[in-house]
């Protein structure tokens, strides 16, 4: 069944929102809970995308692969590989404070992008990888659904699962320790918490979630090239989403992803409709400026984001002794 223009756009819009929401939840675990300033999201995104692509594509003369593994193996593999990558990075940067971690992660992400662009035996370099299939296309076809709608359903299912696990992790004592480390590392250590272990766990799990986002992106697009993992798309937008929505709040991460992606993709229409032809080349940078200005406004007017962090609902409210 073919979708009409608007319906097709809506499906693509929601798929992007879902993928970005997964990335924002991964970042929320690292930054919102733990205070880890990872600005190399694009790196983990790329590792997940290429891992799943290499595992699942058919044999190609241009790059390694030909494993032809099923989709589920691809996304689980992507999470494992990006989690292991996170373990390595987290272990190396374990002792780095916030701002130094930021410098290290952005460097690592850019290095990775250059490796992807130049190691053609692995990734086919800038010419990219093709033939990455959408999941369960035959199954959805039998149900009368297009592969794009099927993809959206798969993304939505992954998002629900990730949200559930991340939110439960936040409500659990595990998330409580992470937030304590974020607020005061010295005091957390003084009350017996193994700060290094918790920090590494949060970094690894957050990285694996970002890897899942990357894998879904690869299967949605069917084509991968290093261009997709420029810091603007892979890192900057995700940060704006989390800050706008409310870091520390998982619902905020979802809201931020939907809101910022609306503005980002909406601005494309707006610019092409309103800008004079002579300016059309400037549309891209103008959109970036728009998002940058928006970020400034949020940081000044509402630094806690649209949905501020809240104590988990598992913590009762009311005075001591008066609790029912």
């Amino acid at each position: 069944m073919e979708l009409s223009g608007i319906a097709a756009y809506l499906v693509s819009f929601l798929t992007f929102v879902g993928i970005y929401a997964i990335l924002a939840l991964g970042l929320n675990m690292q930054w919102g809970f733990t205070g880890q300033f990872n600005i190399g999201i694009a790196g983990f995104f790329a590792v997940g995308a290429y891992a799943s692509a290499i595992l699942t594509v058919p044999d190609s003369p241009w790059h390694v692969g030909g494993f032809g593994a099923p989709f589920l193996v691809g996304i689980v593999g992507a999470m494992v590989v990006s989690g292991l990558f996170g373990l390595l990075i987290g272990w190396i940067t374990a002792r780095l404070r916030t701002d130094y971690l930021a410098i290290a992660t952005i460097g690592i992400a850019e290095t990775l992008r250059l490796i992807i662009a130049n190691e053609t035996w692995l990734t086919h370099g800038v010419r990219g990888m093709t033939n990455i299939e959408r999941p369960f296309a035959g199954f959805f076809e039998a149900l009368g659904l297009s592969s794009a709608v099927g993809m959206l359903i798969v993304v939505a299912a992954c998002l629900v699962a990730v949200y559930f696990l991340v939110e439960r992790a936040r409500q659990a004592p595990w998330g409580r320790v992470l937030r304590a480390i974020r607020d005061n590392e010295i005091a957390a250590e003084a009350v017996g918490k193994n700060v290094g272990r918790f920090r590494l766990e949060a970094f690894v799990v957050g990285s694996a979630i970002m890897g899942l986002g990357g894998a879904l992106y690869a299967h949605y697009f069917g084509f991968l090239s290093p261009e997709a993992f420029l810091p603007l798309y892979g890192t900057f937008l995700v940060w704006v989403m989390l800050i706008a929505g409310g870091s520390g709040n998982n619902k905020g991460a979802l809201l931020g992803a939907a809101l910022i992606w609306s503005i980002w993709s909406g601005s494309e229409f707006l610019m092409s409709a309103t800008l004079p032809d002579a300016w059309s080349g400037q549309a891209g940078p103008l959109r970036v400026i728009l998002i940058g200005v928006l970020l400034q406004v949020i940081l000044i007017a509402r630094p806690q984001g649209l949905l501020p962090e809240q104590a988990p609902k598992t913590v009762p409210f009311g005075k001591a002794g008066e609790r029912s």
Partner: protein, 265 residues
């Protein structure tokens, strides 16, 4: 309980702590006083495992704990508070206490995901203890406040509360009276006395408020320029000429009960 044995620590050329020995006896409230820069906080950091001594040995109930990390010491029953309160500022007061108990099943992510019932049951047990501590310290009315919004004195009480959430019975308090108003200061010192008297806690505290020291502490150790210069009951310390010269301000010593010294921040 805690033996500090000929401990030294230098930062560059500065001998912050020089060959200091004394014992923090079980069941007592030991005071540690001295002018700013005497090395008191450095000594605390050495005992609490934040920094390693260059020389010397520290034992806790006979076990060598020299150079152990703070979280390891915590599990051996030794905790500390800080001169500046170290609250978890964006968590509620109740959560600040809930985070403390060691070895919670839900601190393991797999358990948190797949054994939710067990995690919740354990949380409810911890909450009973939390509310008992809040009642004891009389800060139940701020249980839902973010800890960052508390007053200085309330934060000091919260610091004490966190130590009460542990099985630890040896507590190092770094200036429990600093930045606390008169009313709350009474509460803080009352809580320390009750924890010591009724519950058998051992304390060692650094303090500049001589009234608080003489009210709570026996014995008192005096440090100056990194060295221990006197030890004994506060009454004797006041008579000690070296101490007067180094710290209590030469000449005749006035018991300024009711008037506050200038060193309060």
């Amino acid at each position: 309980m805690i033996k500090i044995d000929q401990v030294s620590k230098a930062f560059g050329g500065i001998h912050a702590v020089e060959n200091v020995s004394f014992e923090i006896a079980a069941g007592r409230i030991t005071g540690l006083i001295g002018p700013n820069g005497a090395g008191k906080s450095t000594l605390f950091n050495l005992v609490a495992g934040l920094i390693r001594p260059d020389r010397g040995r520290i034992t806790l109930q006979g076990e060598d704990i020299t150079g152990r990390r703070p979280h390891e010491l915590f599990h051996r029953g030794l905790v500390r508070t800080f001169q500046i309160p170290h609250e978890f500022s964006r968590m509620t007061v109740r959560e600040n206490l809930m985070v403390v108990p060691a070895g919670q099943a839900g601190e393991n992510l797999i358990q948190a995901w797949f054994r939710w019932g067990r995690v919740r049951r354990e949380d409810r047990r911890i909450l009973e203890k939390v509310d008992e501590v809040l009642d004891f310290l009389e800060i139940g009315h701020v249980a839902d406040e973010l800890a960052g919004n508390l007053s200085g004195g309330q934060k000091k009480l919260l610091d004490l509360g966190r130590t009460m959430m542990t099985p630890a019975r040896a507590v190092l308090l770094d200036e429990p009276g600093a930045g606390v108003n008169r009313t709350l200061l009474g509460k803080v010192s009352g809580a320390i006395q009750r924890l010591n008297g009724e519950r058998g806690y051992t304390f060692c505290l650094i303090e500049h408020d001589m009234d608080l020291i003489s009210e709570l502490c026996d014995p008192v150790h005096v440090m100056a320029n990194g060295a221990l210069i006197a030890s004994g009951p506060m009454h004797d310390i006041r008579q000690n000429d070296h101490v007067r010269e180094a710290y209590l301000g030469g000449g005749r010593l006035v018991d300024h009960r009711g008037g506050r010294g200038g060193e309060r921040r």
